[in-house]
Subunit: 215 residues, 2 copies
């Protein structure tokens, strides 16, 4: 069965991004070290075309496993582009250059329609304007039996959680306090979900928590 | 060296208590299951005089270790008593009956002076009206070389964190979403602390994260 999953790194106080995200600070102010645990791993470096070597061990294992059975990605507009408006004449092609690390279909939730953007090496960005259910249906079809992952950000994850559509979440907790920004779990009235802890693993400077979500 | 430590259980969204704490809901609304991981353990049941048996294993080991070298406890008024006002004629004797589980000196931060309250079996409550530094100095003296722990609540922990006085924190994360209440880490402008992850352990339905705090 194809599952909807999510990998997300949070500060110890629960933020996935700092305040004032911008071209200069794609992750928001103060959040530049949020993903330090992942950057030196062999899997991350290979996926991003930086090198074929890197650190191995638990953090690398977790990243490799995270990408192993993924057939499509869903993300919010903010994760794809810094611009809120219509796409314009020379539309933004994503944060990842001409060879994005996804190598499968990526569905971007946006209010502005746009033709699919075919990148090299297997990544195609599809722009979905009719909501999260439609994006999930399209992503599951594209995944062809594999799982679908939510790339982020927090708002998109929250929408899928609240709608009872997310099956599994991996939360990577790092030893930072951000204080402000986008919280992963920001539900003044939490949705009626049951979280089933699947595992807790110790990384080098990160704690890996996995939950199954029962609806 | 005597350290200032803290054991605290939080929901996955970071709350140590729900909203509207009261006599009826000492932990606030919706938070009754926050400590479910600890209640069935042998250590908890023994400390609270319920029984001498109970669950063993990682959660029990962690609780036993948590209490092993503690010589004094500091807590906020709210953790000791539901009343905010002066103590009155028949003053509150704590939530724990006549045989509290501490069995050492407990320093209660309050705005209202009161004579020490000597309970059976080694627990004496001291009421400290001159602030967190004074409470810590008194607690370290009483601990006589052992460590001091902060019982809670969130506000007291935050004060000691912000003042750079907390040396180590154990955060026990349980699979609940509370949405509202008292957040453990609620610093819009975080204090300049360095958190050093010491360990991550998997309990039965809880993740145990320990950090050393460098000032």
């Amino acid at each position: 069965m194809s599952l909807l999953k999510c990998q997300i790194t949070t500060s110890l106080d629960g933020f996935v991004a700092g305040p004032n995200q911008s071209l200069e600070h794609p992750l928001g102010e103060g959040a530049i070290h949020l993903h330090d645990w992942a950057l030196p791993t062999k899997t991350f470096r290979t996926l991003h075309g930086e090198a074929t070597d890197g650190e191995t061990g638990i953090d690398d294992d977790i990243l490799r496993e995270a990408f192993a059975n993924i057939g499509a990605t869903i993300m919010g507009r903010n994760m794809f582009s810094p611009s809120r408006g219509p796409w314009g004449e020379n539309p933004w092609r994503g944060w990842w250059g001409e060879d994005p690390p996804f190598r499968h279909a990526v569905f971007v939730l946006t209010h502005h329609a746009r033709e699919p953007l075919v990148m090299s090496d297997g990544t195609t960005f599809h722009f979905v304007t009719d909501g999260i259910h439609s994006a999930l249906a399209q992503a599951k079809k594209a995944a062809n039996g594999k799982d679908v992952t939510i790339g982020g950000g927090a708002n998109v994850i929250q929408q899928y959680l609240a709608a009872g559509l997310l099956d599994e979440i991996d939360i990577h907790i790092v030893p930072l306090l951000l204080g402000r920004g986008a919280r992963l779990l920001d539900f003044p009235t939490p949705p009626p979900l049951q979280l089933e802890p699947l595992r807790t693993l110790e990384g080098r400077r990160v704690s890996h928590l996995r939950y199954r979500i029962k609806h």
